[in-house]
Amino acid sequence: MQEDFHYYATYCAAHLAGHTQQECREISYCAQLVDWCSRTFLASLGAPSSAATTQLQLELMEARTDLLGLQDITRIWSSFHFLPRDLHADPGRGGRHYRHKYQLVCGPNGDLLKDTVELARGRGTQAVGLAMHVLADTWAHQHFAGTPSLVINNTNNHFFELLGEGDSVRVRQVRFRHNPTAPDDLENGLYANSIYQQDENSIMNLGHGRAGHLPDYSFARYRYLPAWADYEEVVKDNPSDYWNAFCQMVYAMRCLRTGEPFETNRYAQDAVRPWEADIRSVLGKRQLDSCDDWRQLGERMTGVALDPFDLAAYQQEYLDAARSDRVGTFLGRFFVSALAQKSMVTNRIFRTGSLLAGVSIEYEEKGFGGIKDYLLLVRRVSEEALHE
Protein backbone atom coordinates (compact mmCIF):
# COMPACT_ATOMS: atom_id res chain seq x y z
CA MET A 1 0.00 0.00 0.00
CA GLN A 2 0.96 3.62 -0.39
CA GLU A 3 0.91 6.78 1.68
CA ASP A 4 -2.70 7.45 0.74
CA PHE A 5 -3.85 4.39 2.66
CA HIS A 6 -1.16 3.96 5.30
CA TYR A 7 -1.26 7.58 6.42
CA TYR A 8 -4.57 9.14 5.53
CA ALA A 9 -6.86 6.10 5.56
CA THR A 10 -5.32 4.92 8.84
CA TYR A 11 -6.00 8.37 10.26
CA CYS A 12 -9.65 8.07 9.23
CA ALA A 13 -9.87 4.53 10.61
CA ALA A 14 -8.37 5.61 13.92
CA HIS A 15 -10.97 8.36 14.19
CA LEU A 16 -13.79 5.92 13.51
CA ALA A 17 -12.32 3.57 16.11
CA GLY A 18 -12.81 6.30 18.72
CA HIS A 19 -9.29 7.66 19.14
CA THR A 20 -8.61 11.27 19.99
CA GLN A 21 -7.32 13.68 17.40
CA GLN A 22 -3.76 13.52 18.78
CA GLU A 23 -3.84 9.73 18.89
CA CYS A 24 -5.09 9.60 15.31
CA ARG A 25 -2.16 11.72 14.16
CA GLU A 26 0.35 9.61 16.04
CA ILE A 27 -1.09 6.32 14.86
CA SER A 28 -1.23 7.42 11.22
CA TYR A 29 2.29 8.86 11.43
CA CYS A 30 3.66 5.58 12.72
CA ALA A 31 1.72 3.57 10.15
CA GLN A 32 3.39 5.56 7.39
CA LEU A 33 6.78 5.59 9.15
CA VAL A 34 7.04 1.83 8.59
CA ASP A 35 7.64 2.64 4.90
CA TRP A 36 10.40 5.09 5.74
CA CYS A 37 12.27 3.54 8.66
CA SER A 38 15.24 2.20 6.72
CA ARG A 39 18.81 1.67 7.90
CA THR A 40 19.72 4.96 6.25
CA PHE A 41 17.08 6.76 8.28
CA LEU A 42 18.15 5.01 11.48
CA ALA A 43 21.81 5.76 10.86
CA SER A 44 21.00 9.45 10.50
CA LEU A 45 19.52 9.35 14.00
CA GLY A 46 22.08 7.06 15.57
CA ALA A 47 19.25 4.62 16.22
CA PRO A 48 19.61 0.81 16.32
CA SER A 49 19.80 -0.51 12.76
CA SER A 50 17.94 -3.70 13.67
CA ALA A 51 14.80 -1.60 14.07
CA ALA A 52 14.65 -1.15 10.29
CA THR A 53 11.16 -1.79 8.99
CA THR A 54 11.95 -1.34 5.32
CA GLN A 55 14.77 -1.24 2.83
CA LEU A 56 15.15 1.56 0.31
CA GLN A 57 15.75 0.73 -3.33
CA LEU A 58 19.39 1.75 -3.06
CA GLU A 59 19.82 -0.41 0.02
CA LEU A 60 18.26 -3.35 -1.80
CA MET A 61 20.61 -2.84 -4.72
CA GLU A 62 23.55 -3.27 -2.38
CA ALA A 63 21.97 -6.00 -0.27
CA ARG A 64 23.77 -9.31 -0.19
CA THR A 65 21.84 -12.35 -1.31
CA ASP A 66 23.94 -14.93 0.48
CA LEU A 67 22.35 -16.85 3.35
CA LEU A 68 22.70 -14.10 5.95
CA GLY A 69 21.68 -11.39 3.52
CA LEU A 70 18.55 -13.27 2.51
CA GLN A 71 17.64 -13.87 6.14
CA ASP A 72 18.00 -10.17 6.85
CA ILE A 73 15.79 -9.25 3.90
CA THR A 74 13.19 -11.84 4.85
CA ARG A 75 13.11 -10.68 8.47
CA ILE A 76 12.28 -7.14 7.43
CA TRP A 77 9.80 -7.76 4.65
CA SER A 78 7.96 -10.69 6.21
CA SER A 79 7.61 -8.89 9.54
CA PHE A 80 6.22 -5.60 8.28
CA HIS A 81 4.99 -5.82 4.71
CA PHE A 82 4.23 -9.43 3.84
CA LEU A 83 3.04 -11.00 7.06
CA PRO A 84 2.65 -14.74 6.38
CA ARG A 85 -0.90 -16.03 6.53
CA ASP A 86 -0.29 -19.64 7.42
CA LEU A 87 3.10 -20.84 8.61
CA HIS A 88 1.89 -24.44 8.44
CA ALA A 89 0.44 -24.38 4.93
CA ASP A 90 1.17 -27.37 2.74
CA PRO A 91 1.72 -26.69 -0.97
CA GLY A 92 1.19 -30.37 -1.81
CA ARG A 93 4.37 -30.53 -3.86
CA GLY A 94 8.03 -29.66 -3.74
CA GLY A 95 10.66 -30.27 -1.10
CA ARG A 96 11.18 -28.82 2.36
CA HIS A 97 12.86 -25.64 1.18
CA TYR A 98 10.02 -24.88 -1.21
CA ARG A 99 7.46 -25.62 1.49
CA HIS A 100 9.12 -23.13 3.85
CA LYS A 101 9.00 -20.44 1.20
CA TYR A 102 5.40 -21.23 0.38
CA GLN A 103 4.55 -20.84 4.05
CA LEU A 104 5.73 -17.22 3.91
CA VAL A 105 3.03 -16.23 1.41
CA CYS A 106 1.19 -13.22 2.75
CA GLY A 107 -2.54 -13.08 3.31
CA PRO A 108 -5.13 -11.60 5.65
CA ASN A 109 -6.63 -13.10 8.78
CA GLY A 110 -3.77 -15.39 9.65
CA ASP A 111 -2.66 -16.37 13.15
CA LEU A 112 0.30 -14.01 12.91
CA LEU A 113 -2.06 -11.09 12.36
CA LYS A 114 -3.74 -11.80 15.68
CA ASP A 115 -0.32 -11.97 17.34
CA THR A 116 0.69 -8.70 15.67
CA VAL A 117 -2.36 -6.82 16.89
CA GLU A 118 -2.13 -8.29 20.41
CA LEU A 119 1.55 -7.38 20.54
CA ALA A 120 0.52 -3.74 20.19
CA ARG A 121 -1.88 -3.86 23.13
CA GLY A 122 -0.96 -1.43 25.87
CA ARG A 123 2.19 -0.30 24.09
CA GLY A 124 1.12 3.10 22.87
CA THR A 125 0.15 4.67 19.60
CA GLN A 126 3.48 3.80 17.99
CA ALA A 127 2.83 0.08 18.31
CA VAL A 128 -0.76 0.53 17.13
CA GLY A 129 0.34 2.45 14.04
CA LEU A 130 2.93 -0.18 13.21
CA ALA A 131 0.37 -2.96 13.64
CA MET A 132 -2.08 -1.16 11.36
CA HIS A 133 0.52 -0.92 8.63
CA VAL A 134 1.14 -4.65 8.88
CA LEU A 135 -2.59 -5.39 8.92
CA ALA A 136 -3.33 -3.25 5.89
CA ASP A 137 -0.50 -4.79 3.90
CA THR A 138 -1.80 -8.32 4.54
CA TRP A 139 -4.74 -7.38 2.28
CA ALA A 140 -2.87 -5.53 -0.43
CA HIS A 141 0.14 -7.82 -0.65
CA GLN A 142 -1.60 -11.15 -0.39
CA HIS A 143 -0.31 -13.95 -2.65
CA PHE A 144 3.27 -12.65 -2.43
CA ALA A 145 6.01 -13.53 0.02
CA GLY A 146 8.48 -11.26 1.79
CA THR A 147 11.46 -13.28 0.68
CA PRO A 148 13.29 -13.15 -2.66
CA SER A 149 11.95 -16.17 -4.50
CA LEU A 150 11.33 -16.72 -8.19
CA VAL A 151 9.26 -19.85 -7.64
CA ILE A 152 6.89 -18.00 -5.29
CA ASN A 153 6.74 -14.39 -6.45
CA ASN A 154 7.20 -14.59 -10.19
CA THR A 155 4.50 -13.62 -12.68
CA ASN A 156 4.36 -13.87 -16.46
CA ASN A 157 2.56 -12.23 -19.34
CA HIS A 158 -0.74 -13.84 -18.33
CA PHE A 159 -1.71 -10.69 -16.48
CA PHE A 160 -4.98 -8.98 -17.22
CA GLU A 161 -6.63 -5.93 -15.80
CA LEU A 162 -10.39 -6.03 -15.27
CA LEU A 163 -11.89 -2.68 -16.17
CA GLY A 164 -15.42 -1.70 -15.28
CA GLU A 165 -17.83 -3.63 -13.10
CA GLY A 166 -20.68 -6.10 -13.29
CA ASP A 167 -21.75 -7.01 -16.83
CA SER A 168 -19.59 -4.36 -18.45
CA VAL A 169 -16.25 -5.77 -17.33
CA ARG A 170 -13.60 -5.42 -20.01
CA VAL A 171 -10.40 -7.46 -19.91
CA ARG A 172 -7.19 -5.77 -20.95
CA GLN A 173 -3.72 -7.29 -21.05
CA VAL A 174 -1.35 -5.57 -18.66
CA ARG A 175 1.86 -4.48 -20.32
CA PHE A 176 4.86 -4.24 -18.08
CA ARG A 177 7.92 -2.13 -18.72
CA HIS A 178 11.10 -1.81 -16.69
CA ASN A 179 11.25 1.93 -16.38
CA PRO A 180 11.21 2.87 -12.70
CA THR A 181 11.33 6.60 -13.44
CA ALA A 182 8.29 6.87 -15.71
CA PRO A 183 4.92 6.89 -13.90
CA ASP A 184 2.48 4.09 -14.64
CA ASP A 185 0.20 4.84 -17.57
CA LEU A 186 -3.27 3.91 -16.38
CA GLU A 187 -4.90 4.98 -19.63
CA ASN A 188 -2.93 2.54 -21.76
CA GLY A 189 -2.33 -0.20 -19.20
CA LEU A 190 1.45 0.32 -19.02
CA TYR A 191 2.96 -0.50 -15.64
CA ALA A 192 6.51 -0.74 -14.33
CA ASN A 193 7.68 -3.95 -12.73
CA SER A 194 10.97 -5.53 -11.76
CA ILE A 195 13.06 -7.26 -14.41
CA TYR A 196 12.79 -11.00 -14.82
CA GLN A 197 15.79 -12.64 -13.20
CA GLN A 198 16.26 -16.37 -13.43
CA ASP A 199 18.20 -16.47 -10.17
CA GLU A 200 15.86 -17.80 -7.49
CA ASN A 201 17.14 -15.41 -4.82
CA SER A 202 17.42 -12.25 -6.90
CA ILE A 203 16.15 -9.04 -5.31
CA MET A 204 13.95 -8.62 -8.37
CA ASN A 205 11.91 -11.56 -7.06
CA LEU A 206 11.18 -9.98 -3.70
CA GLY A 207 7.57 -9.36 -2.73
CA HIS A 208 5.29 -8.04 -5.44
CA GLY A 209 8.06 -6.54 -7.58
CA ARG A 210 7.09 -8.74 -10.50
CA ALA A 211 3.55 -7.36 -10.38
CA GLY A 212 4.73 -3.77 -10.16
CA HIS A 213 2.62 -1.35 -8.14
CA LEU A 214 -0.67 -2.96 -9.03
CA PRO A 215 -1.21 -4.46 -5.56
CA ASP A 216 -0.80 -0.96 -4.11
CA TYR A 217 -3.47 0.68 -6.25
CA SER A 218 -6.80 0.61 -4.47
CA PHE A 219 -8.75 0.80 -7.75
CA ALA A 220 -7.03 -2.14 -9.47
CA ARG A 221 -8.76 -5.39 -10.28
CA TYR A 222 -6.73 -7.95 -12.15
CA ARG A 223 -6.11 -11.62 -12.66
CA TYR A 224 -2.79 -13.33 -13.08
CA LEU A 225 -0.85 -16.53 -12.49
CA PRO A 226 1.28 -16.49 -9.34
CA ALA A 227 4.25 -18.80 -9.64
CA TRP A 228 3.21 -20.80 -6.57
CA ALA A 229 -0.32 -21.41 -7.82
CA ASP A 230 0.59 -24.15 -10.33
CA TYR A 231 -1.15 -22.46 -13.28
CA GLU A 232 -4.29 -21.60 -11.32
CA GLU A 233 -5.48 -18.09 -11.92
CA VAL A 234 -5.87 -15.68 -9.03
CA VAL A 235 -8.28 -12.77 -9.20
CA LYS A 236 -7.36 -9.75 -7.11
CA ASP A 237 -10.07 -7.27 -6.30
CA ASN A 238 -8.33 -4.36 -4.60
CA PRO A 239 -11.39 -2.16 -3.99
CA SER A 240 -12.97 -5.01 -2.04
CA ASP A 241 -9.74 -5.95 -0.25
CA TYR A 242 -8.96 -2.36 0.70
CA TRP A 243 -12.48 -1.93 2.02
CA ASN A 244 -12.01 -5.02 4.21
CA ALA A 245 -8.62 -3.72 5.31
CA PHE A 246 -10.15 -0.41 6.35
CA CYS A 247 -13.00 -2.02 8.27
CA GLN A 248 -10.62 -4.44 9.95
CA MET A 249 -8.31 -1.59 10.99
CA VAL A 250 -11.23 0.17 12.64
CA TYR A 251 -12.17 -3.06 14.43
CA ALA A 252 -8.57 -3.74 15.51
CA MET A 253 -8.01 -0.24 16.86
CA ARG A 254 -11.33 -0.34 18.67
CA CYS A 255 -10.29 -3.64 20.28
CA LEU A 256 -6.96 -2.22 21.34
CA ARG A 257 -8.59 0.89 22.76
CA THR A 258 -11.40 -0.84 24.63
CA GLY A 259 -9.56 -3.95 25.79
CA GLU A 260 -11.73 -6.29 23.73
CA PRO A 261 -9.74 -9.29 22.40
CA PHE A 262 -8.97 -9.10 18.69
CA GLU A 263 -10.37 -11.88 16.52
CA THR A 264 -9.59 -12.43 12.86
CA ASN A 265 -12.29 -12.31 10.18
CA ARG A 266 -14.15 -9.56 11.99
CA TYR A 267 -14.77 -6.08 10.65
CA ALA A 268 -16.27 -2.92 12.12
CA GLN A 269 -18.62 -2.27 9.25
CA ASP A 270 -21.18 -0.76 11.58
CA ALA A 271 -18.81 2.06 12.51
CA VAL A 272 -17.77 2.62 8.90
CA ARG A 273 -21.21 2.40 7.26
CA PRO A 274 -22.05 6.12 7.45
CA TRP A 275 -18.95 6.79 5.35
CA GLU A 276 -19.15 3.73 3.13
CA ALA A 277 -20.13 5.50 -0.08
CA ASP A 278 -17.36 8.09 0.31
CA ILE A 279 -14.73 5.51 1.12
CA ARG A 280 -15.70 3.19 -1.72
CA SER A 281 -15.69 6.14 -4.07
CA VAL A 282 -12.10 7.01 -3.13
CA LEU A 283 -11.02 3.39 -3.32
CA GLY A 284 -12.49 2.93 -6.77
CA LYS A 285 -11.13 6.09 -8.35
CA ARG A 286 -8.50 5.35 -11.01
CA GLN A 287 -5.55 7.49 -10.00
CA LEU A 288 -1.97 6.86 -9.07
CA ASP A 289 -2.27 8.68 -5.77
CA SER A 290 -5.36 9.14 -3.63
CA CYS A 291 -3.74 11.23 -0.90
CA ASP A 292 -5.81 14.34 -1.65
CA ASP A 293 -9.10 12.45 -1.65
CA TRP A 294 -8.32 10.65 1.59
CA ARG A 295 -7.10 13.87 3.21
CA GLN A 296 -10.33 15.65 2.29
CA LEU A 297 -12.37 12.76 3.60
CA GLY A 298 -10.37 12.75 6.83
CA GLU A 299 -10.92 16.46 7.28
CA ARG A 300 -14.64 16.03 6.71
CA MET A 301 -14.76 13.19 9.22
CA THR A 302 -12.86 14.97 11.95
CA GLY A 303 -13.58 18.61 11.10
CA VAL A 304 -9.90 19.36 11.55
CA ALA A 305 -7.26 20.13 8.93
CA LEU A 306 -4.85 17.26 8.39
CA ASP A 307 -1.17 17.98 7.82
CA PRO A 308 0.72 15.96 5.24
CA PHE A 309 3.14 13.31 6.44
CA ASP A 310 6.32 14.88 7.76
CA LEU A 311 9.13 12.39 8.29
CA ALA A 312 11.09 14.87 10.40
CA ALA A 313 8.22 15.44 12.84
CA TYR A 314 9.69 13.66 15.88
CA GLN A 315 13.34 13.47 14.97
CA GLN A 316 14.54 16.44 16.98
CA GLU A 317 13.06 15.04 20.18
CA TYR A 318 15.01 11.84 19.61
CA LEU A 319 18.25 13.62 18.79
CA ASP A 320 17.98 16.02 21.73
CA ALA A 321 17.35 13.26 24.26
CA ALA A 322 20.22 11.73 26.20
CA ARG A 323 21.19 8.28 24.92
CA SER A 324 19.77 6.54 27.95
CA ASP A 325 16.46 8.41 27.57
CA ARG A 326 15.96 7.92 23.85
CA VAL A 327 13.96 4.76 24.29
CA GLY A 328 11.26 6.84 25.99
CA THR A 329 10.90 9.33 23.14
CA PHE A 330 8.25 9.01 20.45
CA LEU A 331 10.61 7.50 17.89
CA GLY A 332 12.31 5.43 20.57
CA ARG A 333 9.02 3.72 21.38
CA PHE A 334 8.42 3.13 17.67
CA PHE A 335 11.83 1.51 17.31
CA VAL A 336 11.19 -0.79 20.26
CA SER A 337 7.81 -1.74 18.75
CA ALA A 338 9.55 -2.54 15.48
CA LEU A 339 12.09 -4.72 17.28
CA ALA A 340 9.26 -6.51 19.09
CA GLN A 341 7.35 -7.17 15.87
CA LYS A 342 10.43 -8.39 14.04
CA SER A 343 11.43 -10.58 16.96
CA MET A 344 7.96 -12.11 17.21
CA VAL A 345 7.64 -12.91 13.51
CA THR A 346 11.18 -14.26 13.24
CA ASN A 347 10.53 -16.48 16.23
CA ARG A 348 7.30 -17.86 14.75
CA ILE A 349 8.99 -18.61 11.43
CA PHE A 350 11.98 -20.21 13.17
CA ARG A 351 9.73 -22.44 15.26
CA THR A 352 8.34 -24.04 12.10
CA GLY A 353 11.83 -25.30 11.35
CA SER A 354 12.49 -22.71 8.67
CA LEU A 355 15.75 -20.76 8.62
CA LEU A 356 14.54 -18.31 6.00
CA ALA A 357 14.28 -15.52 8.56
CA GLY A 358 17.29 -16.65 10.54
CA VAL A 359 17.72 -18.07 14.01
CA SER A 360 15.59 -16.99 16.96
CA ILE A 361 16.83 -17.52 20.51
CA GLU A 362 14.20 -18.00 23.21
CA TYR A 363 15.18 -15.46 25.85
CA GLU A 364 13.38 -17.16 28.69
CA GLU A 365 15.10 -20.48 28.00
CA LYS A 366 18.56 -19.45 26.93
CA GLY A 367 18.98 -15.87 28.00
CA PHE A 368 20.06 -13.12 25.68
CA GLY A 369 21.94 -14.02 22.53
CA GLY A 370 22.36 -12.60 19.04
CA ILE A 371 22.01 -9.02 17.87
CA LYS A 372 22.64 -6.55 20.71
CA ASP A 373 20.06 -4.07 19.41
CA TYR A 374 17.44 -6.40 20.84
CA LEU A 375 18.67 -5.66 24.36
CA LEU A 376 16.37 -2.64 24.13
CA LEU A 377 13.49 -5.02 23.71
CA VAL A 378 14.60 -7.20 26.59
CA ARG A 379 14.83 -4.16 28.87
CA ARG A 380 11.39 -2.97 27.80
CA VAL A 381 9.84 -6.36 28.48
CA SER A 382 11.59 -6.53 31.86
CA GLU A 383 10.33 -3.06 32.76
CA GLU A 384 6.80 -4.03 31.83
CA ALA A 385 7.04 -7.17 33.95
CA LEU A 386 8.35 -5.13 36.89
CA HIS A 387 5.58 -2.60 36.42
CA GLU A 388 2.96 -5.32 36.50
Binding site: H158, D230, E232, E233
Partner: protein, 174 residues
Protein backbone atom coordinates in the same frame (compact mmCIF):
# COMPACT_ATOMS: atom_id res chain seq x y z
CA UNK B 1 -17.86 -21.30 -20.38
CA UNK B 2 -14.67 -23.24 -19.76
CA UNK B 3 -14.39 -24.71 -16.29
CA UNK B 4 -11.51 -23.59 -14.14
CA UNK B 5 -9.86 -26.99 -13.96
CA UNK B 6 -9.71 -27.36 -17.74
CA UNK B 7 -8.38 -23.84 -18.15
CA UNK B 8 -5.64 -24.56 -15.60
CA UNK B 9 -4.77 -27.83 -17.32
CA UNK B 10 -4.65 -26.09 -20.70
CA UNK B 11 -2.27 -23.45 -19.38
CA UNK B 12 -0.04 -26.10 -17.82
CA UNK B 13 0.00 -28.18 -21.02
CA UNK B 14 0.72 -25.17 -23.20
CA UNK B 15 3.65 -24.25 -21.00
CA UNK B 16 4.96 -27.83 -21.11
CA UNK B 17 4.54 -27.86 -24.90
CA UNK B 18 6.48 -24.63 -25.23
CA UNK B 19 9.30 -25.93 -23.05
CA UNK B 20 9.48 -29.24 -24.95
CA UNK B 21 9.48 -27.38 -28.25
CA UNK B 22 12.35 -25.19 -27.16
CA UNK B 23 14.20 -28.23 -25.89
CA UNK B 24 13.88 -29.91 -29.30
CA UNK B 25 15.27 -26.77 -30.96
CA UNK B 26 18.15 -26.82 -28.49
CA UNK B 27 18.86 -30.43 -29.37
CA UNK B 28 18.95 -29.39 -33.00
CA UNK B 29 21.69 -26.94 -32.12
CA UNK B 30 23.42 -29.72 -30.25
CA UNK B 31 23.32 -31.82 -33.42
CA UNK B 32 25.17 -29.09 -35.28
CA UNK B 33 27.76 -28.81 -32.51
CA UNK B 34 28.18 -32.58 -32.36
CA UNK B 35 28.63 -32.85 -36.12
CA UNK B 36 31.25 -30.13 -36.05
CA UNK B 37 33.12 -31.68 -33.13
CA UNK B 38 32.98 -35.15 -34.64
CA UNK B 39 34.39 -34.02 -37.95
CA UNK B 40 37.00 -31.72 -36.43
CA UNK B 41 38.27 -33.99 -33.65
CA UNK B 42 37.22 -37.49 -34.71
CA UNK B 43 34.21 -39.49 -33.60
CA UNK B 44 36.05 -42.29 -31.92
CA UNK B 45 38.25 -42.05 -28.84
CA UNK B 46 41.43 -44.03 -29.05
CA UNK B 47 42.26 -43.03 -32.58
CA UNK B 48 45.05 -40.55 -33.08
CA UNK B 49 46.18 -38.54 -36.09
CA UNK B 50 48.79 -41.10 -37.16
CA UNK B 51 46.26 -43.90 -37.32
CA UNK B 52 43.85 -41.79 -39.35
CA UNK B 53 46.58 -40.82 -41.80
CA UNK B 54 47.55 -44.48 -42.21
CA UNK B 55 43.94 -45.41 -42.97
CA UNK B 56 43.58 -42.69 -45.59
CA UNK B 57 46.94 -43.55 -47.17
CA UNK B 58 45.42 -46.89 -48.31
CA UNK B 59 42.53 -45.20 -50.09
CA UNK B 60 42.57 -45.06 -53.90
CA UNK B 61 40.61 -42.74 -56.19
CA UNK B 62 37.47 -44.87 -56.43
CA UNK B 63 37.22 -45.25 -52.69
CA UNK B 64 37.68 -41.50 -52.31
CA UNK B 65 34.73 -40.89 -54.62
CA UNK B 66 32.61 -43.32 -52.65
CA UNK B 67 33.74 -41.66 -49.45
CA UNK B 68 32.77 -38.28 -50.85
CA UNK B 69 29.29 -39.54 -51.81
CA UNK B 70 28.81 -41.08 -48.38
CA UNK B 71 29.97 -37.86 -46.75
CA UNK B 72 27.52 -35.89 -48.85
CA UNK B 73 24.63 -38.19 -47.93
CA UNK B 74 25.55 -37.95 -44.25
CA UNK B 75 25.65 -34.18 -44.52
CA UNK B 76 22.25 -34.07 -46.20
CA UNK B 77 20.78 -36.35 -43.55
CA UNK B 78 22.33 -34.23 -40.86
CA UNK B 79 20.78 -31.06 -42.23
CA UNK B 80 17.48 -32.87 -42.67
CA UNK B 81 17.60 -33.98 -39.05
CA UNK B 82 18.39 -30.47 -37.84
CA UNK B 83 15.67 -29.01 -40.05
CA UNK B 84 13.10 -31.48 -38.77
CA UNK B 85 14.02 -30.77 -35.16
CA UNK B 86 13.64 -27.06 -35.75
CA UNK B 87 10.33 -27.59 -37.52
CA UNK B 88 8.92 -29.75 -34.72
CA UNK B 89 10.23 -27.49 -31.97
CA UNK B 90 9.03 -24.24 -33.50
CA UNK B 91 5.64 -25.71 -34.40
CA UNK B 92 5.19 -26.88 -30.81
CA UNK B 93 6.20 -23.48 -29.47
CA UNK B 94 3.84 -21.81 -31.91
CA UNK B 95 0.89 -24.01 -30.87
CA UNK B 96 1.71 -23.31 -27.23
CA UNK B 97 1.25 -19.63 -27.92
CA UNK B 98 -2.23 -20.23 -29.27
CA UNK B 99 -1.71 -20.61 -33.02
CA UNK B 100 -3.57 -23.49 -34.60
CA UNK B 101 -1.28 -26.21 -35.93
CA UNK B 102 -2.00 -29.54 -37.60
CA UNK B 103 -0.95 -32.98 -36.45
CA UNK B 104 2.05 -33.14 -38.76
CA UNK B 105 4.66 -32.03 -36.29
CA UNK B 106 3.29 -34.42 -33.65
CA UNK B 107 3.60 -37.38 -36.02
CA UNK B 108 7.07 -36.23 -36.94
CA UNK B 109 7.99 -35.99 -33.28
CA UNK B 110 6.83 -39.57 -32.77
CA UNK B 111 8.93 -40.75 -35.70
CA UNK B 112 11.98 -38.90 -34.43
CA UNK B 113 11.48 -40.29 -30.93
CA UNK B 114 11.43 -43.79 -32.36
CA UNK B 115 14.45 -42.97 -34.46
CA UNK B 116 16.39 -41.76 -31.42
CA UNK B 117 15.36 -44.83 -29.47
CA UNK B 118 16.64 -47.05 -32.26
CA UNK B 119 19.88 -45.11 -32.38
CA UNK B 120 20.48 -45.57 -28.68
CA UNK B 121 19.78 -49.30 -28.90
CA UNK B 122 21.99 -49.71 -31.97
CA UNK B 123 24.89 -47.78 -30.51
CA UNK B 124 24.99 -49.91 -27.34
CA UNK B 125 24.50 -53.11 -29.30
CA UNK B 126 27.36 -52.17 -31.60
CA UNK B 127 29.48 -51.29 -28.58
CA UNK B 128 29.01 -54.64 -26.88
CA UNK B 129 29.09 -56.74 -30.04
CA UNK B 130 32.34 -55.23 -31.30
CA UNK B 131 33.67 -54.87 -27.73
CA UNK B 132 35.09 -51.45 -28.61
CA UNK B 133 34.97 -50.33 -25.01
CA UNK B 134 37.37 -47.48 -25.64
CA UNK B 135 34.46 -45.60 -27.16
CA UNK B 136 32.21 -46.32 -24.14
CA UNK B 137 32.53 -42.81 -22.71
CA UNK B 138 31.51 -41.16 -25.96
CA UNK B 139 28.60 -43.53 -26.41
CA UNK B 140 27.46 -42.96 -22.85
CA UNK B 141 27.49 -39.19 -23.18
CA UNK B 142 25.72 -39.27 -26.51
CA UNK B 143 23.07 -41.65 -25.26
CA UNK B 144 22.33 -39.49 -22.22
CA UNK B 145 21.57 -36.64 -24.55
CA UNK B 146 19.58 -38.90 -26.84
CA UNK B 147 17.52 -40.21 -23.92
CA UNK B 148 16.82 -36.67 -22.81
CA UNK B 149 15.81 -35.86 -26.33
CA UNK B 150 13.44 -38.84 -26.34
CA UNK B 151 11.89 -37.61 -23.11
CA UNK B 152 11.41 -34.18 -24.68
CA UNK B 153 9.69 -35.73 -27.70
CA UNK B 154 7.39 -37.83 -25.52
CA UNK B 155 6.53 -34.83 -23.38
CA UNK B 156 5.88 -32.80 -26.51
CA UNK B 157 3.54 -35.43 -27.91
CA UNK B 158 1.66 -35.77 -24.62
CA UNK B 159 1.33 -32.01 -24.20
CA UNK B 160 0.32 -31.46 -27.82
CA UNK B 161 -2.48 -34.02 -27.56
CA UNK B 162 -3.74 -32.43 -24.34
CA UNK B 163 -3.57 -28.92 -25.77
CA UNK B 164 -5.41 -29.89 -28.93
CA UNK B 165 -8.11 -31.75 -27.02
CA UNK B 166 -8.70 -28.95 -24.53
CA UNK B 167 -8.60 -26.27 -27.21
CA UNK B 168 -11.38 -28.08 -29.07
CA UNK B 169 -13.37 -28.39 -25.84
CA UNK B 170 -12.88 -24.71 -25.15
CA UNK B 171 -14.02 -23.78 -28.65
CA UNK B 172 -17.12 -25.94 -28.25
CA UNK B 173 -17.81 -24.40 -24.88
CA UNK B 174 -17.43 -27.62 -22.91
Amino acid sequence: MVDVESATKLRRSRDALSISGRAIVAFGLWDIARAFLSSAYGSSLGQNDEEIERVFADFDIENMELLAIIALIVLVLLFLSIFLRFHVGLAAHSEARGKKKGWGYVVLAAVMALNNTALVIVSYTFLFVTRSYLSLAGTLITSIIDLTSIYAYVDLIRSAITVKRLTVCQAEGR
